[in-house]
């Protein structure tokens, strides 16, 4: 499944009202670790197709959402279930660490 580009206008539909859990990757173009984390997130999107939605939110273009969720450090990966934040991972971490967190909630 392709990753969804998230914006203020589709946030509610794609994240809050999603019927499967959503992994949101908060990133920005000037953030080196964010760019390098993208392929890991893409791998996860493929491996969990159908079970997990993966979305990316550019904090430069969508600062309101970044502020709403208290983002002060990127990359941040947030896991949403039924519209609620159930877990978050701050900074570049090993893929297995992300997978472990996902397995706990899926």
């Amino acid at each position: 499944m392709a990753e969804v580009q998230l914006t203020q206008s589709n946030w509610e539909d794609e994240v809050l009202n999603s019927n499967i859990p959503v992994l949101v990757d908060f990133w920005a173009p000037w953030c080196g670790p964010c760019r390098m984390v993208a392929p890991v997130v893409a791998e996860i999107a493929n491996e969990y197709e159908g079970k997990l939605k993966v979305g990316r939110l550019n904090t430069d273009e969508e600062p309101e959402i970044a502020v709403r969720y208290g983002i002060m450090s990127i990359p941040t990966l947030m896991i949403f279930k039924n519209g609620e934040v159930v877990d978050q991972i701050i900074g570049a971490v090993p893929k297995e660490y992300i997978v472990e967190k996902l397995e706990q909630i899926l």
């Binding site: 953030c31 904090t59 450090s73």
Partner: protein, 305 residues
Amino acid sequence: MYDVIIIGGGPAGLTAGLYAARGGLRTLICEEKVFGGQILMSYEVDNYPGFPKGISGMDLMDNFIKQAEKFGVEMNYEGVKSIEDEGKTKYVVLSNDTKLSTKTIIIAAGASPNKLNCPGEKKFTGKGVSYCATCDGAFFRGRPVAVVGGGDSALEEALYLANLASKVYVIHRRDQLRAVKVLQDRAFANKKLEFIFNHVVKEIQGDKFVNGVLIENTQTGELSRLEVEGVFIYIGMTPNTKFVEDLIKLDEDGYIIVNDRMETNIPGIFAAGDIRVTPLRQVLTAASDGAIAASCAQKYIEMNF
């Protein structure tokens, strides 16, 4: 069986990969986090030759990755848990417990930033505490921040933050900086920077987010508080050698001891970059080490197989 497995995808590992693959070796790089290494955290690299205007760490590493890929390096996102030496055949054990066999190993796992280990540091990581000004600086636009440390990285990042923050305190435990002179000159000339010498951070304070740091005067023991919303920590690095310490000879600080061919105490196992004992730890020297290690690994294979 691989000819060479490289542990770590920073400047040293990517350059070793480029040289090994270009030399026709079957080469794999294992990277536990993200390809590019520490330099991804740097906003501008202005001492890597060939880029007179400077280049961001991210763009530089994009180029390193592309160039290694061009020669057919295999890359995976797996951390290495341990290595084993059975003479001619060596094994690399991945975090998913796969065991790969190889003729040679190049350890290029770099170093990780030291923590302050004070109350509040862990709790507020990502909520005001950061180890990457390039990543997080923009969230502190117009707000006061502190940088902890007195070396090159601390000053480079303090100068970067001065473009965004309303005020940058530089807290250093000694009475003078360790950074190179050109950086010191720029830092002392910058009006947004305020130096607080002879102080250490005792606690990072806040509610949901950081709102201050408690600092202690190392001479008098006096405590005071600085109102800041961000704390950026640059107090040195520790080499990532825990996973090889049983096998590989280290110095007292945990860095790998190598000779001028980047050979460790075990034949066929090499080390390159920030992880080894060396007087200078930079992208250029890491890349240079990687090239030497790969080329010597190739000679080792020619002689032994």
